[in-house]
Symmetry: C3
Subunit: 197 residues, 3 copies
């Protein structure tokens, strides 16, 4: 599971670094934005459940994954921009992994299941929200597509699954798949949730 968490960190760092490249930030600004996008969701969850210092501070591999993704994006952003779909797919994978890992961690800290699912959602969407706020934009998660809903659905699979008399190990992969597929269908089918009026 930790391997998947690092993959998610890597994927989110790419999306943060890409946002920095598009705004002409210098290399250090790009790395800061990559790290923020990759670690802030999980850090918020850890602070709220009292797991301080957060994992991203005590385990150097999270930082290494984020910096590596940031530098690769800095050097090869041309190639990354051309292959738009792999970025969206890896971002969806990061969302799915973070939502599931975040829910699992919150449950392990004794948080009740509905709140654990919310913390899983926060783990998934928090980094991207701060990325957009730092770019002085309305976060994409508030505006469009099936983003937070997908994260919540994946988190709920894990949270509700923890109540069932089944083997626990099946629910994280199932939740990740639900989140990942919902997000991809949301992108490709241009699903929209209703707006007011």
């Amino acid at each position: 599971m930790q391997t998947l968490d690092l993959v998610g960190t890597f994927a989110f760092a790419i999306s943060g670094a890409t946002a920095g490249v598009r705004r002409n930030f210098d290399v250090f600004g790009i790395l800061v934005l990559a790290c923020v996008t990759a670690v802030v969701g999980g850090m918020t969850r850890d602070v709220l459940i009292g797991a301080v210092p957060p994992a991203a501070l005590t385990d150097w591999r999270y930082l290494a994954a984020a910096l590596l993704a940031g530098m690769l994006t800095f050097w090869f952003h041309g190639a990354i921009e051309r292959v738009r779909h792999p970025v969206l797919i890896s971002d969806a994978a990061g969302l799915a992994l973070f939502a599931v890992v975040g829910t699992t961690k919150a449950l392990a800290f004794g948080v009740a299941w509905p709140m654990a699912a919310l913390l899983g959602m926060v783990s998934g969407i928090g980094g991207g929200m701060l990325r957009d706020v730092l770019c002085a934009e309305v976060p994409v998660v508030l505006r469009a597509d099936v983003y937070a809903v997908a994260a919540l659905a994946g988190a709920l699979v894990v949270a509700v699954g923890s109540l069932l008399p089944l083997h626990e190990a099946i629910f994280p992969p199932l939740g990740a798949a639900v989140c990942f597929l919902l997000r991809l269908f949301g992108i490709y089918r241009r699903w929209k949730l209703p707006a007011a009026r």
Copy 2:
């Protein structure tokens, strides 16, 4: 007091959801913004005084109040927009309640009274600040009206009151009334604090 805290949560969630409706967010974005506006101020206070996990995570009624307010705003925003004054009044009530409850909680955790008053103010204004930041706007609390000042005044009544040899129970209602009335006078009389130059 907890009932009043939930009323404050409900009032703030309406103001967050209304901001989302005005910006054409979809229903889930509206609910996210409603929850953020309603719980972030209190969560920040709880994290700073070490009361983790925060009350909004361990007590499901906070989330229920925020979601209910968000859905009501989504369905009936037309009616809510027409009756502008009730929203402003409920927002002022939320500010007053949060400032007073926040100060009381900080005092209970052993924070010195000036800092407890500040934490009460943060509880009151934090959610609205993040609401505006997520909408990519300068927070209204920085720009206009008697907003943070009203929250601080109400919080100070409770904080200073805790030093006096009087029955403690009279100060929270008094502080809430001070904050509420200051805020309403600020709106209706268009009080302005001086700007520089």
Copy 3:
């Protein structure tokens, strides 16, 4: 060292209050922005390492320094704007002091040295980032100049120095000098880090 921390608080509060004056905030908005800029970086560090309540809440002198700087800026901003260089210099001094003090505190809480350096950098740049976000702007630290790099360099001097068999007391002044000079050279020589493409 605590004296220097208060000097840094004062310097950052001036930069926050100046940003508020330029945007025509009222006096209370200016004070809120001054306090936020001055204390948020250190508070974030304290929350992440589990040092709650943060020093800025338990020691009234931090708040006093921030409010004093805010009021002085409100009254004498004309004079402050005319002498632009002293503001930049005091901001650079604040950055250097916070980076060094933040790293030292993180090391004292048992954080590994690379993460302690990062926390020092966060202490230095966090307040200014939130100041710019509250003004609905892209944080200057992401866009330009040698800002975060200078903070990280100063923090690394302290963090790496803690591993060496030398007297610990020499590294904080050395780190502060490195950060301060890097930042000043970055400003006056208009150093730019490379951007992508």
